[in-house]
């Protein structure tokens, strides 16, 4: 449904997007993940036809965004980072205007506007001016705008930014409900969002794609070892070395200390379950085992892992600044 081939975008000497390629299948939700300034928004703006690429190709719903922009735009809905609202229009006026410029036939406009307001739960604000809406409502009106012409492809730039937790959950549910009928790309720098909403993730850093996979695969692929968290009460001074001696354990470190209670992080060889041995080692010495749980490598860590691999060159620059 969406095909991006060797996409490059330069702003003068700055390369914002560098040879990015990926595809999105019909009905899929793709998460676009990356730190701020990684090139997410730029890629999305190229896909929506807001700006042309410097090099490469983007095909949306079967149309090249550069060659046949109007056809591509007819099939694309876009929610920019700041919802593009006119403050002096009421929600209804705004959505009616959107329905006109998105080519909704005259006779269907009113019904369509009402439907979109119901779907995004903004109907109680229909006659409120857009400029007087709260952040959550603005975001939802923006979403209603993107959905107005029932596009095949939806491109959402940080759809949950600035929402409160309840609104975030509602918005995610809404987005998940849209998959199937629509192909969705959503960008975010909030990781749980990706694992909860998306079927596939593209991680982008400094303009380049660093990983493309499902959230689960990414988690397991990058997990070389298992880590266990142990909380022990009244442990002896030699506890660390005793835990270290348990067979299969590769590394032990103290994670936290609260008076007598000490938390340990225990790494073990991948695929080996050392829980029984660890428990026995603690209990047999008369220490209290308060907690034991596996620590999975979270998406957070994966993200940091893949986005900081080229860290040395990057880290040198700020260090120099610090000397001045």
């Amino acid at each position: 449904m969406i095909e991006v081939q060797h996409l490059t975008k330069r702003y003068g000497p700055v390369t914002a997007v560098d040879d990015v390629s990926f595809t999105v299948e019909r009905g899929e939700i793709l998460g676009f993940l990356g730190p701020n300034g990684a090139g997410k928004t730029t890629t999305m703006r190229v896909l929506t036809g807001y700006m042309p690429p410097t090099g490469g190709k983007a095909i949306v719903a079967g149309y090249d965004v550069l060659e046949q922009p109007l056809e591509a735009k007819r099939r694309t809905g876009y929610l920019p980072e700041t919802p593009p609202l006119y403050p002096e229009m009421t929600v209804r006026e705004y959505l009616t205007f959107v329905s006109k410029i998105k080519g909704v036939p005259r006779g269907e406009r009113k019904a369509r506007v009402d439907e979109m307001m119901r779907k995004t739960h903004v109907d109680d604000m229909a006659n409120r001016h857009c400029g007087k809406l709260s952040k959550g409502y603005r975001q939802r009106v923006g979403l209603a705008q993107a959905l107005m012409h029932n596009p095949d492809v939806l491109i959402l730039d940080e759809p949950t930014a600035g929402l409160d937790p309840k609104q975030i959950i509602e918005t995610r549910q809404l987005i998940r409900g849209l998959a199937g009928d629509h192909t969705i790309i959503l960008s975010t720098h909030i990781l749980p969002e990706v694992s909860q909403t998306c079927q596939r993730v593209v991680i982008i850093n400094r303009g380049k794609v660093v990983a493309v996979d499902t959230p689960d695969n990414l988690t397991s692929r990058l997990r070389g070892s298992e880590t266990m968290y142990l909380q022990v009460d009244a442990a002896g001074a030699d506890a660390e070395s005793i835990l270290q001696r348990v067979s299969g354990v590769t590394r032990v470190s103290v994670a936290d200390t609260k008076q007598q209670v000490i938390g340990y992080e225990v790494d073990s060889e991948a695929g080996r379950d050392v829980r029984r041995e660890l428990a026995a080692a603690v209990v047999s010495r008369g220490w209290g085992l308060l907690e034991m749980r596996p620590m999975r490598m979270s998406l957070e860590e994966i993200f940091l892992h893949v986005t900081t691999e080229e860290a040395p060159a990057q880290a040198a620059a700020p260090a120099e600044v610090a000397h001045e």
């Binding site: 807001y50 920019p80 593009p84 609202l85 006026e93 006109k100």
Partner: protein
């Protein structure tokens, strides 16, 4: 065409749902009313004098023509206020993203904005019809001259608006846009002042460039194709450059 009208309608609506339209139209009406009153007094006095000498004053030449010329001066100040926000505001607030990612062509957006501004402008000069109606009910001016005067006003305003749109498309800042527009308008207005001190070629070029110079014939009741061609070329050139500017902006990102 529907898209153009949708944009034009939106533009008009945003003028009238903010204080802009009321302030602009209101102050224009106030200023024009003052000019009307002042010139009417002067005209009456002159008219009485002429009557004493046995002839009447020509209401078209001595009242209506100066009124139109004065209206064109007020436009110089008022029109930048109408055009300065058209693109700048959309760029600043990000709504330009909605327009540029909707299935609209640049030309449709630009023509829509142009028509919207023209609509407000037309509403503004429509107010002066009240003053003209007064003249018609108490005197007997020649209606053809009044009609050509209005045609001239509309065309001249169209030129100013197309130049204003162009300048607005170049910046995010409304004040910059407004000031630059005002400066360009003023320059286009006075550009022929130095004409008589230059060589014959420069002189005719400068005279030709002056937007208000072309307006003069309209106030005399003359519809000259030379002026029509001039006004329509400036308008289309301004709109063409606006389209180029919007497109360039897109490539720069």
């Amino acid at each position: 065409m529907n898209n153009i009208l949708a944009i034009a309608h939106k533009e008009l609506k945003s003028y009238f749902s903010t204080p802009i339209a009321y302030v602009v139209v209101g102050f224009f009406a106030f200023l024009f009313g003052y000019f009307f009153y002042a010139m009417l007094i002067i005209f009456n006095q002159q008219s009485a004098q002429f009557e004493g000498q046995g002839g009447g004053a020509d209401i078209n030449q001595q009242l209506i023509r100066p009124l139109f010329l004065n209206a064109s001066v007020i436009l110089l100040f008022v029109l930048p206020l109408i055009t300065m926000r058209t693109y700048s505001e959309e760029k600043r607030s990000g709504t330009i993203e909605l327009l540029l990612t909707s299935p609209l062509s640049d030309v449709q957006i630009i023509l829509g904005k142009f028509l919207g501004a023209m609509g407000l402008y037309a509403a503004m000069i429509a107010i002066t019809a009240v003053h003209m109606a007064l003249l018609f009910s108490y005197g007997n001016p020649e209606w053809k001259v009044v009609v050509t005067g209005y045609i001239g006003l509309l065309l001249m305003g169209g030129c100013f608006i197309s130049v204003g749109l162009l300048i607005s498309s170049l910046t995010k800042n409304q004040i910059v846009s407004g000031m630059a527009t005002f400066a360009v308008f003023l320059l286009l207005w006075v550009i022929n002042w130095i004409a008589s001190f230059t060589g014959p070629t420069t002189q005719s070029v400068l005279n030709y460039l002056s937007i208000t110079d072309h307006f003069d014939d309209f106030t005399r009741g003359i519809l000259d194709t030379k002026h029509l061609v001039y006004y329509f070329s400036v308008m289309s050139f301004g709109l063409f450059l606006t389209a180029r500017s919007v497109d360039t902006e897109r490539w720069k990102g």
